[in-house]
Symmetry: C2
Subunit: 348 residues, 2 copies
């Protein structure tokens, strides 16, 4: 048999006040005498009473209420990647700092997002942040209809009226390529992502674009799926051909590390003597001494802060037009790139 838990009525009785007084004691701006509040809080403490957040949002469900559930839905994917894992941690802290709780849902593919959102909406979330994946046009409309603000993090969908916060992937791709071209590489390879991934594709687009403008021909393209092992395999393929690239741009750091490990430890190549390597994201492992991977850094903290702020703003003003924030990436030059045009000696 289940025990009844302590309710505001119990506290009311103990403090000799009405239940409403208890409720008011726990609402910051309610009209209640200081002495009464203290007495109530005292009694509450003694009984171990904690307001029931569920019931609270239940009664606040009335039309026009301010207080809501305090729940933020977060949909997440690609958890394996340290870059994203770190982001959930940061996001979690930001969300908590705003007094919200984070309802986390993990999905494996873009197609699961809609149903995940549906599930989360049953919990009447006050808003949602969707990390590294996208939602359908239809679901975006549903969210708008139900007045649930949504922010896409690290992704965006062309023509979809949804807030988004992401790095300028194309610009980052250009930046990376510029660095490689300027330092005199002329056999530049790219390890891109699957065509379905807009983020990775944009980085590659920036790469191709810059190459075209600079009049440098693309040496070769390989493809990976965002994992270390796919990067490793791409690396093995890249350097098994008769002529090898003298620079490799990978659209993600983990893949770049895959290439690095394959080249250096399986094929005996040297970086940057044999080829320059550039990644994207700046994960912690990029700066480990043995990696020293040059990369395009994302202003992650700031992006997370902004994502949360946009969510808050949007909750205040439900009709505000969607914001699409873009951030410039920064080139972090480490030892995986050769610094200037080297003499013939470097060529193999």
């Amino acid at each position: 048999m289940r025990k009844r838990s302590i309710t505001s009525y119990d506290v009311a009785k103990a403090a000799g006040v009405s239940q409403s007084a208890v409720s008011r004691a726990f609402s910051p701006n309610a009209s209640i005498a200081k002495a009464t509040r203290e007495r109530v809080l005292e009694a509450a403490k003694e009984l171990g009473y904690q307001p029931n957040a569920i019931a609270r949002s239940m009664s606040s469900a009335r039309i026009g209420a301010q207080q809501k559930t305090g729940l933020i839905g977060v949909i997440f994917t690609r958890f394996e990647d340290p870059f994203f894992a770190r982001m959930v941690a940061d996001l979690s802290r930001s969300v908590q700092a705003c007094g919200w709780q984070m309802l986390l849902f993990t999905v494996d593919t873009h197609s699961e997002v809609d149903s995940a959102l549906n599930t989360l909406m049953q919990y009447k979330i006050d808003g949602a942040i969707i990390m590294s994946t996208i939602l359908s046009d239809q679901m975006a409309q549903t969210c708008r209809a139900r007045e649930i603000p949504v922010v896409l993090f690290n992704q965006s969908v062309e023509g979809l009226d949804v807030n988004s916060v992401q790095i300028d992937n194309r610009g980052g791709g250009r930046l990376a390529t510029e660095c490689l071209v300027e330092t005199g590489h002329d056999r530049i390879a790219v390890v891109g992502g699957e065509t379905g991934d807009a983020t990775l594709m944009a980085r590659e687009t920036g790469f191709v674009e810059y190459l075209l403008e600079a009049g440098v021909e693309l040496f070769i393209r390989e493809e990976g799926n965002f994992t270390f092992s796919s990067g490793r395999e791409a690396g093995l393929r890249l350097f098994s051909r008769r002529e090898s690239p003298d620079a490799v741009f990978c659209v993600s750091d983990v893949m770049a590390l895959g290439v690095l490990h394959a080249a250096r430890f399986e094929l005996g190549l040297q970086v940057p003597q044999d080829f320059s390597l550039l990644g994207f994201e700046d994960i912690p492992a990029a700066e480990w001494p043995g990696h020293s991977l040059s990369t395009i850094r994302q202003p992650t903290r700031r992006m997370i802060r902004d994502a949360v702020n946009i969510l808050v703003d949007n909750m205040q003003d439900l009709d505000s037009s969607p914001r699409r924030e873009r951030y410039k990436g920064t080139l972090i030059l480490r030892e995986s790139c050769r610094k200037r045009n080297l003499p013939e000696a470097t060529q193999r």
Copy 2:
């Protein structure tokens, strides 16, 4: 002005039944005619109705009810570590698979756990999983009083009546040390964790214990705080002395990689020629070609599965005595350890 959302009453009207019928249509085992259910579901679909999980758990709050909030609180720390990040991902999937939602709370220190739990309890979570951190005796009692099952993951507290699921850290430490001793190392160093961390301490205890039994003297101890950079610094210290260790056991993989990078890339040492290296956990990066780090592997998947199962069992039978599952670690021998007793040549 906020729109009223669609409720079971709207569906009831549309389907020409009572509100209770709608409720029953959405409850798997309720007494309702098949035809009626279909009609209701049809109408619900048309109106875009989704049961309100908050209201649902609200009314199920009555004494003895089966259905609860469907919320599982997860308290998490040390998110930076890839090993733990991975675990949240897996856990998230397991929890979802059981039809629960995961309410994630991130803490930075053990001391925040109690208040985190308090916050989560306001949401009337059905249970909690606490990852890599601990709770106070008092809070454990509170949870029991409120009948909220708790499982400690990867931690346990001596003498505390709380379910726990963790690797046999001491045994793992022994296993690691045995490997090093058997292969003829005699200047064995350890990079331990801070004394407050029971998990890391247990690994070290196993290490010291075995050394003692084997009659091998501890060469030197360094300390880290579970991060790559603390491992790196420990590594620099270890090899800056006049006499260097010929083996290093690190109580976590990230720290071991810190040592590896420092030794190999900053000090120019070779592994395993100059010294053998052993970690603990088997994170993905451990098997990267350039690392090939020997380590003690944890049966993570199984541990997560069991943690969830224990939670479920405990929810069914609230008075069952706490279970404390222990798992044996497996020694994964990679190239960072020399395989047999080598001739004098190895010594420096």
